[in-house]
Symmetry: D2
């Protein structure tokens, strides 16, 4: 039985806490820590059977009975907490992204290496039943040599402008999941990026220095080309589709709905909208990723999303941003060179 | 080049005339005859390039250059015209049903036999791309040993009460196509029928002595059981589905629409309704059945829907009617005995 | 917090035990009892955090801290255990069917009434996301006046012949769920049944006195007609579809699969098979039904599947059996009269 | 009745000839001309009821009874024949592309303008039921303000290397239809192009100086971004999909198959492949485009695909080629300037 401490119990921290108590067999949450700990979070902890609640995360790092830590604090805390936890001898599961700053991510990678501890980044989509099905088929060679990869990723509604301002931009905040999916589905690395961005949802997003709509073309090391289309808003809900096309076939996934009921009436044949947003769509994936993390600890196997998987999509995101800014294709090698990687 | 005469140029006669002029390579319509010939039908004939228009169908039967006749007159004229045309040495394509009266159908069968001429009944669904696909798969053994056959057949709107009164009842007018489909898809004969009827669309249909909704269960000689569900009205359009389930699999067809466009919006994911009614849904099948009839003449091969295929579903329909009237399962053998078949 | 005792920890007992520990917030399993308690069941109990394990179910009934009992023993124990538990002052959740013997079910109903305790029967499909979606749409009037209800229910593989012999026959063992669905989806009562049965899967099932394939037509009090098609085997998996057709539209549900991935290749366009069987397909429904039972206790509201809902489908099943045996439609009133109901 | 002459009766010329004889009410083919006229083409003409067959196309241009000409000769003859026919006073339907050389297209545009005759380019997809459905919905404002347009266009198999060499390259030969679709579906003009090309199908295509796989991103005047993915080969058949996403919804079309039959078996749930290639998929569209051309003549209305619609996608194609060659986004204005447009 692995004892886990969760640092940060906002929305995603609670999702993980509840998942562990319900679905993860070999682990339990022993303690949580949050500087903004309040009655609501305490009541939640009690309902989940979590005994210890702290405002100071150091209490978790000092507890010798806690083997693993989930870092669910704000993004700017991800890298320092990762380092501190690893150095305290804990296995670390860190929400994405590790950081927006490549130097800091590099530092984390170095500490992970030295520590010999497990490190997993929270790219939950890898654990979704649909994305996993397409990944497994591609990995098994079912589509032959990959030629074209397509990902559609549209959110039902944009975040607040305040969030947009600290988000790191659409590529590091939203597309980062899609960059991870390109790497996951293809099993290959991105070599070059061309991104076309526009503001079609809300002019305020443009004023905040960001874009809300993007088409990103990626050249992969395996010879395939990938294309991602993103939008911060879609009136019909969370649109999460993917397709891998190759010499032996094409495998595609579409959206999930709450039920498959179809109503035929005077106005047409109507099915349900896709599930509203990530918490609905990927709830099972949140549980599966932590389960996989615990399994890696228990069996002493590599985590399925390692520290380098946390770095790679950030580099792609930075290349995409540069591509929009300079209106030209940008090689990942150029970004790596810039950061001495 | 086969010269064809069409007797009766109401709706279905014109459908056939237009089909022949457009799609049937080895035939042309030389003459039409209709006792109610008017300016509209003459203009139509001219547009179709049909030279001869008569009020008296005997002109067609007397024309030695006409090898084949399409009988598209009212149902009560189907059997006498069939006989007269066959005896005049013409090949005959007769709209369904041959007759509501078994004795008259029997008479036609006898004349067909003696005449040595081709005789085809207008069960157009056998020539529809979807029904043919399911038939061919079943005939090729793809579902293994048949176990359950299901047919859904619902009209978008009921006929007029005047028509209902002379229709011969739902089983001989509407379900007759589905009885034919059961025989066509299974390649087997119906042995027993149980029918449950109700009036859920329009009480006036009940007052006219008919039903408008039915579930019919049929036991087949090959050991399979078939079930048909019928309704005279469906607000979403013409519902034409079928499924054959067997030991090796299940093959099913669904409705066709004008386009496969799907709209995802605030209220859900909306596809188009099925095509409105039989003229839209089966237009290509009307052409294909006449093309097949002409081919049978040219190549001197059996027609794909012969006179017995015209008799069998009438017997099933009569059994279904008796089943509803006497509220019990009725064997086809009982009906055959009744008519000395 | 409701303390629950589970009597019988075979397959379904464990499904409920695990569901409660994972998903049911306001309850915990305090004890289990099974005459065949062994190391495996003890280990399972330990893993689930269940403290007390007995061979004698009376220990559960005598425990004043246990408010509710789940009866997951063999079918012949359902009614006596229900009565004993109710008389011991426990709320009872009983797996389906209450009994195959109407007299014994009646006895349970009487005891339920006198006891004032909650009683729920394990018709789990009412808690499935798809069936619930169709039910809610129908209940909200979306299809208008109901006309035709269709249910397809096919198992992936037949049970053992030993099980078939004690199963009570296909109608009480398998179709009973579909009879419940007809009542649930329609919100109406069945008045008459006509069933056509055959043996198409395994002659040994026929030798055991049962059938393995059936088409059942049901007349409902609300004027609609329902038709169920059943088979004990389907090579493509568990086939669970339903459709309600009415004057304002038709709402239908199809099968669920592990993922919605679709592969387009040389041989066609291939999707996944339906989920294998009931444990896969209805796992969430098993949790939801117990959650609903606990909620009924906590809030003191009626259970959503009461004792009468346990009786009604048994009466329909007996009528279906009689219909096959006597080859005629059978009214439910006739069965009720037979049992003085 | 419009008399038509067809110049060039290879594959596409015959498709049009047959379409006119079958489906186009107000026109007939009076004459055909082909320098390679042989027994096969004469037999075909006879079967179609076409009276006059020439090797010299000038015979058609000199016939005062012929009002309209279809130019179905090889691509290099499209522009000179267009000009000669227009100057001979004929309405002209010209297969796509008008030319690969912008100067020659410009010349045609000038002659069209002076002639006052109808001129239509053979972009048949505008007349396809699916593409028309999506166009009409977008034009009616159903998706609101357009944000992202996606087109997938993959051929089942590549053309011969000999053809590739004279094809003008993938962008002018294959993608040109997709460029037309972007303009047609959006109702807007393309302003900038970025194209990523690769050779994933056949190295011989690369050796011939062409690419066989491409992702093309297009910025539109209306603020939307479009993305096209192309491949010269897809083992599952002709892949023709499109999607327009906007503030009020997303409308998408998928492939057509010969039937909608679905087989559920041991290995999964299998539907038919898309129709094989353009002749199967767009047969009805070929008839509809000529019908529309004839209607424009008869009613003296503008053609639905005018000479400028023939020029615009060539400019986009040249920009795409330049983008691949110079590995940068290319503005259409840059191409226009280059050709003094």
């Amino acid at each position: 039985m692995i004892n886990i401490g969760i640092i940060g119990v906002g929305r995603i921290g609670r999702v993980h806490g509840e998942s562990i108590s319900k679905y993860v067999k070999d682990a339990r949450v022993k303690a949580i820590a949050d500087p903004f700990l309040n009655d609501s979070s305490k009541a939640w902890a009690k309902a989940m059977g979590i005994e210890e609640t702290y405002t100071d995360y150091k209490k978790i790092l000092q507890d010798p009975d806690i083997q693993a830590v989930l870092i669910c604090a704000s993004t700017d805390q991800h890298s320092p907490l990762s380092i501190e936890a690893l150095q305290a001898g804990k296995h670390v599961f860190c929400e994405k992204p590790i950081d927006h700053d490549v130097a800091k991510i590099k530092e984390v990678l170095d500490v992970v290496k030295k520590s010999g501890k497990k490190y997993q980044v929270g790219f939950n989509r890898r654990f979704d039943h649909n994305f996993k099905a397409i990944h497994d088929a591609v990995a098994a060679g079912r589509v032959g040599k990959q030629q074209i990869i397509k990902i559609t990723s549209r959110d039902p509604e944009p975040p607040s402008i305040d969030y947009v301002k600290i988000s790191g931009g659409i590529f590091l905040d939203m597309t980062i999941h899609d960059f991870d999916m390109v790497r996951y589905l293809s099993g290959s690395e991105v070599e070059e990026v061309y991104a076309e961005g526009s503001v079609t949802v809300d002019p305020a997003i443009g004023k905040a220095g960001d874009i809300d709509t993007a088409i990103i073309t990626l050249k992969l090391a395996n010879g395939a080309t990938a294309v991602i289309d993103n939008c911060r808003a879609a009136c019909y809900g969370y649109d999460q589709r993917a397709e891998v096309f190759g010499t032996e076939g094409c495998i595609a996934i579409s959206n999930d709905s709450d039920s498959n009921a179809v109503f035929s009436g005077k106005n047409g044949v109507m099915a349900e909208k896709p599930m509203f947003f990530f918490l609905q769509r990927y709830m099972a994936a949140y549980a599966a990723e932590v389960d996989s993390f615990v399994e890696a600890i228990v069996k002493d196997t590599p985590t399925l999303v390692n520290a380098n998987d946390g770095l790679a999509p950030v580099l792609i995101g930075l290349a995409a941003k540069k591509s929009v800014d300079e209106h030209r294709p940008v090689k990942i090698a150029e970004i790596r060179k810039q950061y001495n990687l």
